[in-house]
């Protein structure tokens, strides 16, 4: 490891040795010191006037909102700029971060849609992101609507080559599925979990169905503590026909509806014991996710299965 681990609150190498998001690049005020927390560890970051990025273990010499002075920086942490975000690692960083082909397409725009603090483990938030069954009940009238409650059969696979979970052939009824029509229809989804705390969903893009191109909605989670997470959300859209504030407002509505549910889940850490809760067929992707975490040996922010 590049840093001595002795003083870290988190001792789980599975989560320590990952890239974690801290902020979207857009939201950094150039030249000022920013504070945040990662795995209970106080860290700081800054972007200098030449757009260089820095992350370091927080130190008294550089208080929040002070002018950034590179000479006062101590104990640096690794820096990665990808997908429009600043990533760091307080263990040994992996060689690469997952890639998203759509993010590289020239006619797409990556729009960060807000950061949400939520008092729950990252795992619970990922499961919520993968879950279609709650659409009619939590996102009533937006992503779903009674009586259209059925979660139809879909496929889930754990890709060995890419070490990620992929849920395909997902369909769910959405009221006002297309802007042009009042009626509802089934919308196609694909879910990708390429990182223990990051998930993306691909959803048919109005106007581009024929080309088979899909909008990308992502959630990159910054685990602040075992039961405390910051969710960095965003969209990667082909055609920005809605205003930036419109998209932000939409995502805030959706997340605002999920947050009280997430914060009322018990236990707050994700239980990996297969007998902790009662899954149904609709939860196939969550079952695969929990198995994947168990296989990786994750212990931070989860309740590991006994034995």
């Amino acid at each position: 490891m590049t840093q001595s681990c002795t003083e870290l609150a988190c001792a789980d190498p599975v989560i320590l040795n990952q890239w974690h998001p801290l902020t979207s690049i857009d939201e950094i005020t150039r030249g000022l010191v920013h504070h945040t927390v990662l795995l209970e560890q106080p860290v700081s970051y800054a972007q200098d006037d030449a757009d260089n990025l820095y992350v370091w273990h927080r130190c008294e010499t550089l208080p929040a909102h002070a002018r950034f002075d590179v000479t006062k920086k101590q104990k640096p942490l690794p820096v990665l700029q990808q997908h429009g975000y600043l990533w760091t690692c307080i263990g040994t960083p992996p060689a690469t971060l997952f890639s998203v082909a759509e993010m590289e397409e020239p006619d797409r725009q990556n729009v960060p849609t807000g950061v949400f603090g939520v008092n729950v483990s990252a795992g619970r938030a990922i499961e919520n992101f993968l879950d279609m069954g709650h659409f009619p009940f939590v996102h009533t009238g937006i992503l779903g609507e009674e009586p259209h409650t059925e979660v139809k059969e879909y496929d889930v696979e754990l890709s060995e080559t890419r070490d990620e979970i992929l849920a395909t052939r997902c369909r769910f009824y959405q009221p006002k599925a297309a802007l042009a029509s009042d009626g509802g229809a089934d919308v196609d989804y694909v879910f990708r979990v390429p990182h223990i705390n990051c998930a993306l969903l691909f959803k048919s893009s109005p106007g581009f169905e024929a080309e088979g191109r899909m909008d990308v909605i992502y959630m990159f989670l910054q685990p602040m503590g075992r039961e405390w997470t910051r969710a960095h959300t965003g969209m990667c859209v082909i055609d920005l026909e809605n205003s930036y504030s419109g998209i932000r407002y939409f995502q805030q509505t959706i997340f605002g509806q999920d947050k009280p549910i997430l914060e009322n889940q018990f236990p707050k850490q994700l239980p990996l014991d297969t007998r902790a809760e009662t899954p149904i067929r609709a939860d196939k992707s969550a079952i695969a996710y929990r198995r994947w975490l168990t296989k990786k040996g994750l212990t931070y922010g989860v309740i590991p299965a006994a034995g």
Partner: protein, 582 residues
């Protein structure tokens, strides 16, 4: 800290449970969802939906059922059993999906519970028979022992003002008894301690007599107890804060950890019920109200049936007519069949109020989808019974439906008490001959639309007619749901063949004269069954290989043609060998 999980404690005031509210309580660190159903029953449940752990106290109390806010799962009053999973509308939830419950007793203006009770709840002697008066609960951020030590010195006046001398009359587990005496009045106060968590206690006072000036007394105690609370909390603040009690959640059944499967049990009449009411429902139809001899009857879903073992040794299936949340009894309607082989006759002539019967737990082989844009229920004669349960469910959930009841006359139809609650969604078609019935059915079934579903139950010929007409009117097979009373097909059991059981790694010979089900039983395989004549679907098995010879009336034509399922009590094999997923 001494934790006594066996002790009963008050956990809420009766006034904390107004209509359709869910109260969030806590005892020894265990969170509780406390709610009163419309029938008055008070439920005390673990505050956690079994599916994904969401607090039930943020759910919806719908009067008969509690609905989880996250995925809309419904849990029945009393049993806490899951009655519906919206993500899978065509499936009945496994019977064993049930939230964890605690006992709940409402007495003396308080709700009482215990985390792990030993014995029944006993009213403290001082409260028995008296017109008691519960005070406002006072939560205190301090451990039980600290609260108790101060409460012994609690000072109050019997009349609400003036000096009084207060003494501890009695001290026992869970509460203390204080007696106050002034020049012209006296009063006895029982002070109960509800241990919420290691560092939090609720004081619940009960006066043994109703005061003349209740508001003044409430105010007096509120002030006196609040002052005491401030003292206690000041002390607690100077001490180390105790660690919260570590609560471990019970694991769910191993069976449920997998995908919910069919209940695995034979035709077992494992429940004992008494007939608490028998009445004439209509001409030739008797109604029976069955209540558990002890404990709680299992959860049922609309369309479910039970097996009833009769005194003469016969076993018969009857649909429950109960509406949602009516979990303190089962109700069935039994038609006297002139061609009876002794079943309906026995229930009509022999079984009386007060008798004890053995019944099975309910089975849901005729489940009701609740994701339809429109539901049509068609009942012929006594086929109305499962429809009554379905119609009441749809009504309570405000889902659009029509119910059409066909009968010889109003006197033959009966069930007015339920039908009248269903309002204009119900139409009675009386005294029609087969041709007129057909014409009405065509009217009803014309105009199929996306996500419409029809459920049909009635005598064979009418059911056949309705299915045919629905098909002609453009209803897809998936939208036509039906249940036969009995299988009138002539069963040919002359073939012999081999059955291989994939999961049990057994190969069995089925000789002429014996059913697959019988051969399974003889070889020690515990296979579920109920009607054993090919009508109810309980003994359905999945076919992996081979071609079945279907002789049942449960499977739809498409299900038959797919050769993926077999009703093992009557159907056999066309091929020499069948491989079943058993």
């Amino acid at each position: 800290m001494h934790i006594d999980l066996n002790q009963w404690h008050p956990i809420a005031s009766s006034s904390d449970l107004p209509k359709r509210h869910i109260f969030h309580g806590q005892l020894w660190g265990r969170e509780l969802a406390v709610w009163r159903a419309d029938d008055g029953h008070v439920n005390v449940w673990e505050n956690r939906c079994l599916h994904r752990g969401v607090r039930l106290s943020i759910g919806l109390n719908e009067g008969r059922e509690l609905r989880c806010l996250y995925h809309g799962w419904r849990y029945a009053n009393r049993t806490a059993g899951c009655t519906y999973i919206p993500a899978h509308p065509a499936d009945a939830p496994a019977r064993t999906i049930s939230n964890n419950t605690y006992p709940g007793i409402e007495a003396h203006g308080l709700i009482w519970s215990a985390a792990d009770p030993v014995g029944e709840f006993n009213t403290p002697e001082a409260l028995q028979g008296s017109d008691v008066f519960a005070l406002r609960a006072i939560p205190v951020n301090a451990a039980l022992e600290l609260v108790l030590s101060h409460a012994r010195g609690y000072q109050f006046s019997p009349s609400g003002e003036g000096e009084a001398s207060v003494s501890v009359q009695n001290e026992t587990a869970g509460f203390i008894t204080l007696h106050a005496k002034s020049a012209n009045a006296e009063a006895t106060l029982l002070l109960f301690f509800q241990p919420v968590d290691a560092g939090r206690t609720v004081l619940r006072g009960v006066l043994t007599a109703k005061p003349d000036t209740p508001v003044a007394l409430l105010r007096h105690h509120n002030q006196a107890m609040s002052a005491m609370r401030d003292q206690i909390e000041a002390k607690a603040a100077a001490m180390d804060r105790p660690e919260p009690i570590n609560v471990t959640f019970q694991r769910v059944d191993a069976e449920l950890a997998q995908m919910p499967a069919r209940a695995k049990s034979g035709p077992k009449a494992e429940l004992r019920v008494s007939v608490t009411h028998k009445w004439q429902v209509a001409t030739g139809i008797a109604g029976f109200r069955l209540e558990a001899l002890s404990g709680q009857l299992p959860t049922f879903q609309p369309g479910a049936h039970i097996d009833v073992r009769l005194p003469n040794g016969l076993q018969r299936q009857y649909s429950l007519t109960n509406g949602p949340g009516e979990t303190d009894h089962y109700a069935i309607g039994v038609k006297r069949d002139p061609a009876s082989r002794g079943g309906s006759e026995c229930l009509h002539d022999v079984v009386q109020q007060g008798d004890v019967l053995a019944i099975s737990a309910p089975r849901s082989n005729f489940p009701l989808r609740r994701d339809a844009l429109k539901t049509i229920l068609i009942a012929g004669g006594i086929g109305i019974t499962p429809m009554l349960a379905m119609a009441q469910t749809l009504k309570v959930q405000h889902l659009p439906f029509e119910m059409h009841c066909f009968a010889q006359s109003a006197a033959h139809l009966g069930f007015d008490d339920i039908l009248n609650t269903l309002g204009t969604s119900t139409t009675r078609h009386l005294g029609l001959d087969p041709d007129a019935t057909g014409a009405v059915l065509r009217d009803i079934l014309t105009g199929y639309g996306e996500a419409h579903h029809v459920y049909i139950c009635g005598p064979g010929p009418m059911l056949e007619a309705a299915r045919t007409i629905a098909g002609n009117c453009g209803w897809p097979e998936d939208a036509i749901h039906f249940e036969y009373f009995k299988n009138t097909n002539e069963i040919d059991d002359s073939s012999t063949f081999e059955v291989a059981l994939a999961r049990s790694a057994l190969t069995l010979q089925v000789p002429a004269g014996k059913s697959i089900l019988e051969v399974l039983r003889e070889n020690g395989i515990d296979a579920p069954s109920s009607c054993e004549q090919g009508a109810c679907g309980t003994c359905l098995a999945t076919v992996i290989e081979g071609e079945p010879e279907h002789q049942d009336v449960y499977l739809s034509p498409r299900e038959r043609a797919s050769n993926k399922s077999i009703i093992t009590c009557v159907s056999r094999a066309k091929s020499k060998r069948l491989v079943l997923d058993i």
